[in-house]
Structures are given as C-alpha cells and as structure tokens.
C-alpha cells in the first residue's frame, strides 16, 4: 500500500473519476463519497510521505515507463514537491466536501427543477470531472520529465473547461472556451521550450536541463517556458483571462483555480531557476519589475470591482505576483519565502473564494454594493472571510506572515547586493502590501459591516451555511494558522532543495 506512493496519488483520483460515474447507478449521489474517500486516502499518503521526509527520510524517486526511453513517467517526491502536493491535495479534499451543497445549488440554478436521476447525473459528473484536478496537480508536482509536466498541465484545462461550461454562471460557455484557448496558447510555448531542451540534451528529463546552461538555446528555452508561466500566472499583460474565468466558474473549484495559476511558480523554479540559475539572471530584474507592476495593477483592479467573484479573481492577479517577486529575486530566502507564500495564498484564497460562494449561495447576490451588514446574521461566514483576508494581507498568525517576512528578506538582500533598481522594487513591493490590506478589509466593511439590508432582515435563508460547507474551510484555516505558528515544518523541507542551488 505504501509502495509507489507518488503514482498512487496521481492514479487514485483518476481511477475514482470513472468509479463515481459508474457508482451512481448503485449509490446515487452518495457515489461522491468515492471521490472524497479517494482524496482523503491520497492526502494521508502524502502526509505520511512528507512526515517521513521531515524526519530525515530520503526523497522518493519512482521510475515508470511511459512512451519509450525519452518520455517516461518518472516521479520525484522531494522537499519541494511533497509539501506543495500535500497542501494542494488537502485543498482538493476540503473542496470535495464543501462542494456538496454548492453544486446542488448550481444544478438547480442552471437546470431548474429536474428529476432526481438527472440531478444525480449532473452531480456525479461534477465530481468525476473534479477528480481530474488532483490528478493534474499531483502530476505537475511530481513529474520529473518535461513531457510529463506538459501532459499534466494539459490535463488541468479539461475539467476546468467542462465544469465551467456545465456548472458556471451566465457567460459560462464563452468564458470556458476563452480559458481553454489561453491554456492551449500557453501549452504551445511550453512544448516549444521542451523541444528546444530535447534538441540540446537529447532528453526530456528535468535533471538534464542543466546541461544547457550557458548555451544560447538556454535563453530561448527559458523565454518559451516563461511565456507559458506568465500566461498561467496572469502576469501583466497576460492577466485579461483571469477575471473572466474566476467570475464565471462555480466557486467550489475557485481555490483550485488559484492553485492552477500559482503552480506555475513551482514549475518555474523546478525547470528553470534551479537548473539554469546563471542563465536566468538576465530575466531576474525584468520579471521583478513585471511582478511589481502586476501587484499594483492587480490591486487597483481589485479595488475597482463590485462583483464579489471578480473581486477575488483580481486579487489573485495581485497576490500571485508576490510569489513571483520572491522567487525571481534568486535568493534562498526569496525562493523559500516565495514558495511558502504560494501555499499561504492558495489556502487564504480558497477560504475567500469559498466564502464568496457561501454568500452567493445564501443571498443569490454577487454585487457587493447590494450586500452589507451580513455579519449580524452570518457571524461564522464573516469570521471565515476575515481569516481569509488576514491570510491574504499577511497578518499573524497566518502562514503568509512568516512567508512575507522571509520572502522580503530575500528580496531586500537581492536589492542590497544587486542593482539599486531591485532595492527600489523591494521597498515598493513591501509598501504595495498596503493595497492588500486595503482591498481585503474594505471588502469586509462593504459585505459584512454596516446596517443589514432591508431585504435580508426578515429573510430566514440568510444564515451561516451548513457544517459540511464551513467545516472544510475551518480545517483549511486551522492548517494555515498551524503553518503560521510553526512554519519550519515546511520551510526546512524547501530549504533542503533550494539551499543546494547556487543562490545568494
């Protein structure tokens, strides 16, 4: 059972997907429990593997044949991939529980009053598609082959497309297509980058990318990969897809969309920064400038939003750039902190998005200006939103607090040891966090504070959600607080890998 742990974490969700579809004949909606149990199991596996590594174990290397000698399904579970995969899988598990009520609500909203069989079909279809997310994420985390990463990156847009088209909001089909096109656009460049690597090293293995160091081809392959990464991360000027996609999807996968975008930072580190550090230097300053622009632009964009879902979407644009700023500083602290911030962000964003989902689910309203005063009737939801806001704004005891601290230590170091421009970016970046405080807590004021709107006063539906929706979010909140109080459990694992690189 404990053999091929990494492969299991990829395969089990993939196998659970058809099981949910076939199981609905027998179990009806309860077939969704196949998905939840499968995800719980894979989370436990990852927890076990991570703890083993923490206690001095060695990285897990699994070799599996796939398509000839060049294209393998080799997997690597080291200090970088295991903790990231663990947190992502935990989020998938939590959202599999959270989605229960929410997806029923979406089915009713889109398809109206349908018979039970049709409702069950829609419901289980959602869960079957949902399971492709953990499959893709785990694959991206563990694959040690460029084609493997490409393959799993390409899997991810599929559930995104179908879930959005089937369970999304008003403009769902068009936006699902836009999302797919952007994914295809990015993936194309990734493939080109991979092919350049292959022609230079005769291998698709991530480990062999370092052989290209110092060659002109390294510059071009980095450029190609970066186009993919920047598009995935919605860095300015590639940000236009993000508000649409986040606004139209069902919020029960919202947290995963943040992961979908943010995982590109991990990919950048794994395939570019670690193997090609010296060649990447030339990209460092331009990327930091882009990150700063994106932070500020995304924050202003967020402040301009009135739609609760677009609000969360635009804040993602801004927040993703923080991780990028840290990682692109090319310092150990910047990279450690940047990755840790990535984890803090996806947890905080999952809470915020899912809480937005609770509000939409409860009130049926997305326009923040029509909300207000909800704290009086939804205290737990308010607390969850504030916890999420604290996570995004980097307040203790959230994990984003030590993450920001460590990340900016690295960014300032890059500024003080490198060009003055980087120091200016560091100072501006630290000051730009103020925007996060502004938009996060301004949203609290608009949505939850003030007098309760008249239409809500006598509405008995306006109340905190059932426990099945709030408990998963509380679990995520507890995790981010635990990591904030004791960050070493993950930082030490990151550090083992990052410190081995030639970083400042």
């Amino acid at each position: 059972m404990l053999e091929h742990i990494l492969l299991q974490t990829i395969i089990i969700p993939a196998l659970c997907a058809p099981a949910v579809i076939f199981g609905r004949r027998l179990f009806g909606k309860k077939a969704a429990w196949i998905a939840r149990i499968g995800l719980l199991y894979s989370t436990l596996l990852l927890l076990f593997a991570t703890l083993k590594l923490t206690l001095g174990g060695v990285p897990i290397i699994e070799q599996h044949a796939f398509a000839g000698p060049a294209i393998t399904m080799n997997l690597l579970g080291d200090g970088l991939s295991l903790p990231i995969a663990l947190i992502i899988n935990m989020l998938c598990t939590a959202l599999a529980f959270y989605a229960d009520h929410y997806i029923d609500h979406r089915i009713e909203a889109i398809y109206g009053e349908v018979d039970e069989k049709t409702a069950t079909n829609h419901y289980t279809r959602f869960y079957a598609l949902f399971l492709l997310f953990p499959t893709g994420f785990m694959g991206v985390c563990f694959a040690s082959n460029l084609i493997g990463i490409y393959f799993f990156l390409e899997i991810l847009p599929l559930p995104l497309f179908f879930i959005m088209a089937m369970f999304g909001y008003v403009d769902r089909v068009r936006v699902a297509m836009v999302c797919l096109m952007w994914a295809v656009f990015g993936a194309g460049f990734f493939l080109v980058g991979s092919i350049i690597v292959y022609y230079q090293t005769a291998s698709f293995a991530v480990a062999s990318i370092a052989q290209m160091a110092g060659t002109p081809a390294a510059f071009w392959s980095i450029s190609m990969f970066l186009l993919t990464i920047l598009a995935k991360m919605a860095v300015v000027p590639f940000q236009v897809w993000m508000p649409w996609v986040h606004a139209e999807h069902p919020t029960c996968i919202a947290g995963l969309l943040a992961v979908y975008a943010n995982i590109a930072v991990y990919v950048m580190l794994r395939i570019l920064i670690i193997p090609l550090t010296a060649d990447f230097q030339i990209f460092s300053l331009p990327l930091m400038i882009l990150a700063l622009i994106t932070m500020v632009y995304g924050a202003l964009l967020t402040l301009g939003q009135t739609d609760i879902k677009r609000f969360a979407a635009c804040s993602t644009i801004s927040q993703l750039a923080y991780s990028m700023l840290g990682v692109c500083s090319l310092t150990v602290a910047g990279i450690d902190g940047g990755l840790f911030f990535f984890l803090g962000h996806i947890m905080g964003k999952t809470i915020i998005f899912s809480t937005a989902g609770i509000i939409v689910y409860t009130t049926g309203i997305r326009d923040m200006r029509q909300l207000g005063g909800l704290a009086a009737k939804m205290p737990l939801t308010t607390a969850l939103w504030i916890i999420g806001a604290m996570g995004l704004a980097g307040f203790p005891p959230m994990s984003s607090f030590p993450a920001e601290w460590i990340m900016f230590t690295g960014i300032f170091k890059a500024g003080l040891m490198g060009s003055p421009a980087k120091l200016v970016i560091a100072i501006a970046g630290a000051a730009a966090i103020t925007f996060s405080v502004v938009y996060c807590f301004r949203s609290v004021k608009i949505i939850f504070f003030g007098p309760l709107d008249e239409k809500f006063i006598n509405n008995s539906h306006i109340k905190d959600p059932p426990l099945s929706m709030s408990l998963p979010l509380l679990t995520i909140a507890a995790t981010t607080i635990a990591l904030g109080l004791y960050p070493s459990i993950i930082l030490d694992l990151f550090h083992k890998v990052v410190a081995a690189g030639p970083f400042m």
Binding site: M177, V192, L301, F401, W405, L491
Partner: protein, 674 residues
C-alpha cells in the same frame, strides 16, 4: 523571573478561550474570566518590579528557536528597564480598564467579543513589549493593530448613535466601520515601510535580536554608513512604523476617528497603551542610532534624532490647536493624546542630539509616557462615564455635570490638572523634564514650540472641564430630565476604576522626583554599563535651567488656563469669536484640522478609488476588448485564407495563438540557424 514574563504574555491569550468557554456557562463566570486573566498578568508583571529596584541583574533574556531555515529566527523575551517599565504600565492599566469594562459594557450584546478582543489586545501588547527581537516585536505590533481595528469598529452595524464627527449639519460624520478601516490602513502603511527598514538592518547585522543588535552595532553600523543615503533611507523607513502607530504627523489623522470605539477602548488602546508602542520602539532604536552617531561617527545617523524631535514638536503643536476647537469630549482627548505623545518624541529625539542628554532625554520621554498613560486612562474612563450619563458625545450637550457626578468630576479634575502639568502631579514632573532636556540640548526652536503647546494644553483642558462640569446645564440635560433620565453617577465598578487611577496619579505625583531618579538610575546602568554607550556630563550653566523651565511652564499654563476659564465658564465665547475675524479664521482652520484630513481624503482615498476605476473600466476593459475581440477580428481580416480553417464559432482567440506561435517559431528558427 523569566517564567513570570512568559506567563504575563500567555495568560491573556488563555483568557480568550476561557471567556468563550465561560460565556457558554454563565455571564458571571465570563465576567470573572474576563478580569481574572488580565489581573493575573498584571500580578506577574508586578512580581518583576523588584528587578527595577535592583537593576544590576538586568538585562535578562530567554528564547527558543522558531525558524531555522533559511535563517534563524527566535521567539524570546527581554527584560531590561525599558520593557519592565512598559509592561508594568500596560498590564496594571489594562487590568483596571478590564474591570471598568464590565460596568461599561453591561448588557451589550457583543460583550463576549469585546472582552475576548480586550484580552487579545493585552496579550499582544505584552508580547510586543517583551519581545527580544524585532520579528516578534513586529508580530505583536501587527496583532495590536488588528485588535485596534476590531475594537474601533466594534459597533460594526454602524447605528447612527455610534457615528462620530459632527454635530450633524455642522461637520461630516463617519461610521465606526470606516474609522476602524482607516486606522488599520494608515497604521498599516507605516508598518510595512518599517518592515523594509528592519530587513535592511537584518541584512547588515545578521540578527534581529535586540541585545545582539546593540552589541554588534559598532561593527555593522559603519558598514551600513558606507552609503550615507542608506542610513537616511533606513531612518525614514524605521520611523514610519512608530509614526503611524503613535499617530504622529503626518500619519496622525487616524487617531481622532479611533474614538468611534467604546469608551474603555479609547482609554486602553488609543491613550494608555497601544499608541505608546511607537514611543517604545523609538526608545528601542535610540541606542542603535546613538552608536551610529557617537561611536561610528556617522553624521547621517543624527537625522534619526532630528526627525524624531521635530516630528514630536510639530505634532504636539498641531494636535493641541485642534484640541482647542473640538466639540466631542473624546476627540478633545484624542487630540490631546497625539499632542502629548509628541512630547515623548521630543524627549527621545533630543536624547541623541548631544552626548550629555542621552540618559536625561530617555528618562524624560519614558517618564512622560508613564504619567500620560495613567492620567489619560483616567480621563478617558471618566469621559466614558459622562458620555454614558448624558447620551451625547458633544461637550455642548453637557455643562454643570459636577453636581450629578461628583466622584467622576473629582477624579477627572485630578487627571486634568495632571494633563496641564500643574505641580505636584506627575504630569508636571515629566513634562518639565522634557522641557529641561530640550533647553540643555540648546534646541531652542523646539523648546519654544513645546512651551507654546503647554499653554494650548492648559487652554483646551480648562475649556473641556469648564464646558462639561461647570456653568449652566445644556438643553440636552434639560431634555433628559424631562424624560426622567436625569444623569447620575456611574456604577461603583466604573468610578472605582477611575478613583484607583486618580489615586495612582496622586501617589506618582508625591513621589515624582523619586520615580524620576529611579528611572534615571536604571537608564544610566542600562545605557552606559550594559550597552557601553559613551556619554558626557551636562555642562554647568550660569542660569538655573530647572527654575527657568518651571517658571516658563507655569507661566504658560496660566496663560492658557485663565482665558479659557474666563471664556468658557461665562459662556462669552460666541461674542469673543464673533468680535475678531482672526479668531474666526483660526477657528475654521483648526476645526478643519489644518485641512490635512481633507487633503488626505482627496489625495489618497478619492485618488486611489478614481485610479482603481480608471484601471478597471478604462485600461482593463479596453485591453480585454482588444485581446478577446478586436485583435482576432483584425488578424482574421488580414489573413483570412491562411487561418480560415482554424476558425471556431465560439471564440477567435486560437488565431492569435497560432499566429504568434508561428512568428516566434520562425524567429527562434532563424536565431538558432547555425
């Protein structure tokens, strides 16, 4: 001894959980939990008092490693004279206020939340003060900011009765939730800039531990000073945090609005404790920049002290002028708080300007912090009781309250006399110490501003007391009496707390010179023997500076007090204001807070929101239109034949991808062609 310090931090945090659990059982048990933990924390701090009497054992430190990678970060406590003084002030005043809260918040539906937040605040503040490193200090710093936000916006439903500003029709009014957000954002700006300054120091010093920073400063400060601009940058960045937190110019505009919170919150957070954290941090940084200036001989390090002193002087004056015309009782005190903290900044700033004023300046600044914490807490608690009794926040709705609230009047009078600096209360000793050190440093412009501010302080304090407790009763009181709501003395638990603070003031006043000597002795030992800072003896003067300062100070008090009493006791104010246009103009100028708040609102709030709308609705919408609509159309019109087969009915974006991909592949191919 370490155990007591750790317990002092931990107990209030345990109190949060205890209040929640107890509230599920009974209200009385909850009340017990709400006061028991702050009192226990205060007792732990008092147990450390002997260390202050025998400072030879100090400093004491205890820590454990929190983060090992990518660098070592510790969680630890530092007991030295500065932290000891602060925790005594914070814990004892907090415990008294916690007791007062039970009366003030009785029957409030949000009392559980309130009491939990108060405990969280006390724990966070003690964490901030006892932290042995800048990171942990920053954790406490952020947490107290968060508590402040939650407590200012405590009445989050924004009911009309909790709005501040006005009176209605006379000036704009703001809601508690807005005030909370404003405080969080304004202080947050300073915090994050300060974070940058701390990180630059960390880069050079390789440590955040305070004692290590002091001891290694002679080594790392010269390295930092190789680039004098960097010293200037670090100075500004480090001071930004305290300026925000202590509501000093130019980040002072949040504190008057912070009065939207319940009365005890104003007393606890926005007068007695949290706003002092900025003063505390400046005092913590003094040795570092002193070493930079007087050991490493870096001239630019002097900027730290110059800015500190001038920020203090400017703030003290500006805030005092605003206090002259304020109509809300708590807002007068808020302006007064900002002004008085300015005095503390003056003391600490002057401390590093010469080698002979280090100990005297530090002592004066911290002594004023202690006396201000007590008298302002007393003033705020009494004000809370008065507001409670008259159901109004405006002083013109009061008048003649002495006969209804004799205890409150008596205790508030003691605190007000202390605020004015009348001997022999502690305000006199501490304020005069600051004035004296200014004169000794020959910083005449700041000395003149400080003396002028003494007169203004006496004026607004007398005006406040005259309008609240003396003279004829207001119409509001008549209405209340008609409705059988005659004002009456506060609950015993409330006036008892005020009385205890007033008693502390009398005791501290009686022992003022002794306390000053004790503080001086502690700082001499700490700064010169432990930290080995070089100091010089003060030069002898032909004139008795002490006597001169006392005479000038008392003269300034009389100059402020007498006209205020004449005008506001006799209700002749309108005639005087109308008779001189210069008074009218000045009144308008001060009433609009020197137009600073309006300027900030226009520039930062309206400016940012307009910019946000421009980004969202002009740039982003047009860019979206270009990428998702116009560009595909353009491409398809120009290359219809080539791309015809790729056309999809749902979206045209594939065109761009294919088109760009083709161009890029071609470029790469050409570039890589051997």
């Amino acid at each position: 001894m370490h155990l007591y310090a750790w317990l002092a931090i931990i107990l209030p945090f345990i109190g949060i959980a205890a209040i929640y659990v107890a509230s599920c059982i009974s209200g009385r048990l909850r009340n017990l939990a709400a006061v028991a933990f702050p009192i226990m924390a205060a007792l732990c701090c008092l147990r450390l008092l002997p260390l202050l009497l025998h400072p030879g054992q100090l400093p004491l430190e205890s820590s454990w490693v929190w983060v090992t990678h990518p660098f070592i970060l510790e969680i630890g406590i530092l007991l030295d004279p500065l932290s000891l003084i602060l925790i005594l002030v914070v814990s004892v005043i907090s415990a008294i206020i916690a007791v007062y809260c039970l009366g003030y918040m009785k029957g409030d539906p949000g009392i559980n939340r309130f009491l939990m937040l108060v405990n969280l605040f006390i724990g966070s503040m003690l964490l901030l003060v006892l932290a042995n490193n800048l990171l942990l200090l920053f954790v406490g710093w952020k947490l107290v900011g968060l508590c402040s936000y939650a407590l200012i916006g405590f009445y989050y439903k924004d009911e009309r009765k909790y709005w501040i500003g006005g009176p209605e029709g006379d000036a704009p009014m703001t809601t508690p939730s807005f005030c909370g957000l404003k405080a969080l954002v304004v202080t947050g700006v300073g915090d994050l800039i300060m974070l940058g300054g701390i990180l630059i120091i960390f880069f050079y010093a390789h440590t955040l531990n305070l004692m290590e920073l002091y001891k290694s400063a002679p080594v790392w400060f010269p390295e930092l000073a190789q680039n004098p601009n960097l010293v200037v940058l670090v100075t500004f960045m480090l001071l930004a945090g305290p300026i925000g937190k202590s509501a000093q110019f130019p980040l002072h505009e949040w504190l008057p609005e912070a009065m939207a919170g319940p009365g005890p919150v104003s007393a606890l957070i926005h007068a007695a404790t949290m706003v002092k954290s900025g003063v505390y941090l400046v005092a913590r940084l003094v040795p570092i920049f002193y070493i930079g200036r007087w050991v490493a001989d870096c001239q630019s390090a002097e900027l730290f002290f110059t800015i500190t002193a001038w920020v203090g002087a400017i703030t003290a004056f500006i805030a005092a002028t605003q206090g002259l015309v304020a109509k809300e009782l708590k807002k007068i005190m808020a302006f007064s708080t900002v002004s008085q903290i300015g005095y503390m900044w003056i003391g600490l700033g002057v401390a590093g300007l010469t080698q002979s004023t280090l100990v005297a300046g530090t002592t004066a600044g911290i002594f004023h912090l202690i006396s201000h914490a007590i008298f302002k807490a007393c003033l705020f608690l009494c004000a809370g009781s008065v507001i409670h009794a008259v159901h109004s926040i405006y002083i013109q709705d009061m008048g003649g309250m002495r006969r209804y609230m004799p205890y409150t009047w008596f205790f508030m009078m003691i605190a007000a006399v202390c605020l004015m600096g009348i001997p022999p209360l502690p305000g006199f000793w501490s304020k005069d110490a600051i004035l004296l050190v200014n004169l000794e440093a020959h910083h005449i412009p700041i000395f003149v501003i400080a003396i002028a501010t003494v007169a203004l302080t006496a004026f607004y304090t007398t005006r406040m007391m005259a309008m609240v407790f003396y003279g004829a009763e207001s119409q509001n009181l008549s209405h209340l009496k008609e409705e059988s709501q005659t004002p009456h003395e506060a609950l015993p638990i409330m006036w008892g707390a005020c009385g205890l603070l007033a008693l502390m003031l009398l005791a501290l006043g009686a022992g003022g010179p002794w306390v000053e000597r004790l503080l001086h002795h502690n700082f001499v030992l700490n700064l010169t023997e432990t930290l080995k800072l070089p100091i010089k003896e003060a030069a002898e003067h032909a004139i008795n500076y002490h006597l001169l300062v006392t005479c000038l100070s008392i003269g300034a008090i009389l100059a402020g007090m007498i006209p205020a009493w004449v005008i506001y006791r006799s209700h002749e104010r309108k005639i005087i204001l109308q008779s001189r246009s210069v008074f009218r103009e000045l009144h308008i100028f001060f009433w609009h807070r020197w137009f600073i708040d309006a300027f900030y609102n226009r520039l930062f709030i309206n400016g940012t929101l307009k910019l946000a709308d421009f980004v969202a609705f002009e740039i982003e919408d047009n860019f979206d239109n270009l990428i998702h609509h116009r560009l595909p159309v353009l491409v398809t019109e120009r290359l219809p034949h080539l791309l015809l087969r790729l056309k999809t009915e749902t979206d045209n974006f594939l065109y761009i991808g294919a088109y760009l991909m083709g161009i890029i592949l071609l470029t790469i191919g050409l570039a890589m062609w051997p």
